[in-house]
């Protein structure tokens, strides 16, 4: 049996392109709240672009050159935008009960993305090479050490934190976002709750 053929068949059956990139949506997808998810992706793209430029030129550039500091500011505000949009997206998904009807894993992948993003931001804060980095690292080390994590995740080690921030964590976040988006597309957008009434109890409350 050809492994290639098997994989090809599974992909074409499991990930049909018209499902991954549909050109129509249920008519109830008619609210601004659906934009916060895509705004989060847009912010992430900006974070990657500005992050790559910052990494390419290095710490002396983002501290010493006016252009470097401006790109540092872009990265900073992109991070703020990323978290703002993601948290609003998380809350709106909650209020929609977006995990209903077999969408539990979609919810889980979104929450994990949020939690991993917090760690990613933390590694960024301690990699800036300024007083904020020093203070956050020295204060954060006690929390990491208190639960044993500090033994292998040393927030005082710039080289380790920088590696985590510019490569490991972004790849993990991008992968998780990919999984989340794929699940959203494959499962589709959850139906609205039925308004209370005897003949309208259709949608189950559980995943």
């Amino acid at each position: 049996m050809s492994w290639t053929s098997s994989l090809q068949r599974k992909l074409s059956e499991g990930l049909p392109y018209d499902q991954l990139l549909p050109d129509e949506q249920p008519a109830y997808v008619h609210s601004y709240v659906y934009l916060f998810g895509v705004a989060t992706i847009g912010s992430f793209v900006l974070l990657v672009v500005t992050g790559v430029i910052l990494a390419a030129f290095g710490p002396q550039w983002w501290h010493g050159a006016a252009v470097g500091h401006f790109f540092n500011s872009l990265h900073f505000w992109a991070a703020q935008a990323f978290f703002f949009f993601m948290v609003v997206h998380l809350w709106t998904a909650f209020f929609q009960g977006a995990w209903r009807d077999g969408r539990g894993l979609t919810w889980v992948s979104g929450v994990v993305t949020f939690l991993v993003s917090i760690v990613t931001a933390f590694t960024g804060y301690v990699s800036q090479q300024n007083f904020d980095s020093q203070w956050i690292a020295t204060q954060g080390k006690d929390a990491m050490n208190s639960v044993g994590v500090g033994a292998f995740f040393n927030v005082l080690n710039f080289g380790q934190m920088y590696g985590f921030h510019v490569f490991i964590m972004p790849v993990v976040v991008a992968g998780l976002m990919g999984v989340h988006l794929t699940l959203v597309r494959l499962r589709g957008v959850v139906r609205p709750y039925d308004l209370p009434g005897p003949s309208k109890r259709r949608v189950s409350e559980v995943a």
Partner: protein, 316 residues
């Protein structure tokens, strides 16, 4: 459309939706927003603190920390895992210390790393220092302790004028000269390099200098000036009027309230992380937690989100 999905959407009206255009427009809008914010508000970048600044601005405190490092009475010397086998900063969750279970992975020896090591590296060009180090090393431990205690008493009576520190004469043996040289190394900026840990040409690990600076008055003073202390939500703050890590609000909140600030104060970090981990798991498993997974049905925010749908009787 897959059969199960088709069944799910039975009776639902579909409308054209341009996901690609939506993404491009969202990216453009976020880009404009971020550029405007960066141009108008910039970003925080307060210069880092150096050992040189610490030794120059607060020489008495600097020398005190060096002495504490030598006699083993300092915070770093007594910290515990992952730096050493002491217990000063070891925290527990109930009877268990996960910190102790993981053990010592980043060994730090304050007497060697902050005092004797840096002095050894400069002794070749300083015969008086070389002699003092020789005297100190060959003296019995009890004599070393006597010198250190005498110097500690003298240091408490020291006079500090700007960066100048005057220590009353004492029977402190070679410790007086050793501390004098350490102060000179600190104020010249040489100590910033000597505390870097890799002992190789390239340096990326700031564990030792940051651990030292962590307990200096200069660092605490600077953090206080910028409202960064833990008691003022410091973990999520940053210098200047910037939003900081606002997403850490729940974690930081725990450091402001009992019992984390009272009965649990000795283990605040470990218990705050445990609490946040439990809350995160609840959030993660929300779809399967009876009662909690019905909350959005009870809170009618969904009516606002899908108001168009409900207004049009399910056809919009």
């Amino acid at each position: 459309m897959m059969a199960t999905k088709r069944a799910y959407y039975a009776g639902v009206r579909f409308a054209p939706y341009d996901l690609v255009k939506e993404f491009v427009f969202a990216l453009a809008a976020v880009t404009v927003l971020v550029i405007v914010l960066a141009a108008l508000l910039s970003s925080p970048d307060v210069p880092s603190l150096t050992i040189k600044t610490v030794a120059t601005q607060t020489p008495q405190n600097y020398v005190q920390l060096e002495l504490d490092s030598l006699d083993g009475n300092g915070d770093v010397a007594g910290y515990g895992p992952p730096y050493n086998h002491q217990s000063g900063s070891v925290q527990y969750i109930g009877p268990v210390s996960v910190q102790n279970l993981f053990g010592v992975h980043i060994p730090v020896n304050p007497a060697r790393d902050y005092v004797l090591g840096p002095l050894e590296q400069t002794r070749r060009s300083d015969p008086a220092l070389a002699a003092a180090l020789q005297t100190f090393r060959t003296a019995p431990a009890t004599t070393q302790s006597k010198w250190e205690a005498a110097y500690n008493s003298a240091l408490l009576k020291a006079k500090q004028q700007g960066s100048k520190l005057t220590i009353p004469s004492c029977s402190c043996g070679p410790v007086t000269l050793m501390m004098s040289r350490l102060l000179a190394l600190g104020q010249s900026g040489a100590m910033d390099g000597l505390l870097l840990t890799s002992r190789h040409f390239y340096q990326t690990d700031y564990t030792r200098p940051l651990l030292f600076m962590n307990y200096t008055d200069a660092m605490a003073n600077k953090a206080t000036k910028y409202n960064l202390l833990g008691s003022t939500w410091g973990v999520m703050n940053e210098t200047g009027n910037y939003p900081g890590q606002a997403w850490l609000w729940l974690y930081t909140l725990l450091y402001q309230i009992p019992p984390y600030t009272t009965a649990w104060a000795a283990n605040t970090d470990a218990l705050a992380i445990l609490t946040v981990t439990i809350l995160s798991l609840l959030l993660l498993l929300l779809p399967w937690i009876p009662g909690l997974n019905r909350l959005p049905r009870i809170i009618p925010v969904y009516r606002l989100i899908w108001r168009h749908h409900y207004r049009t009787g399910g056809n919009g």
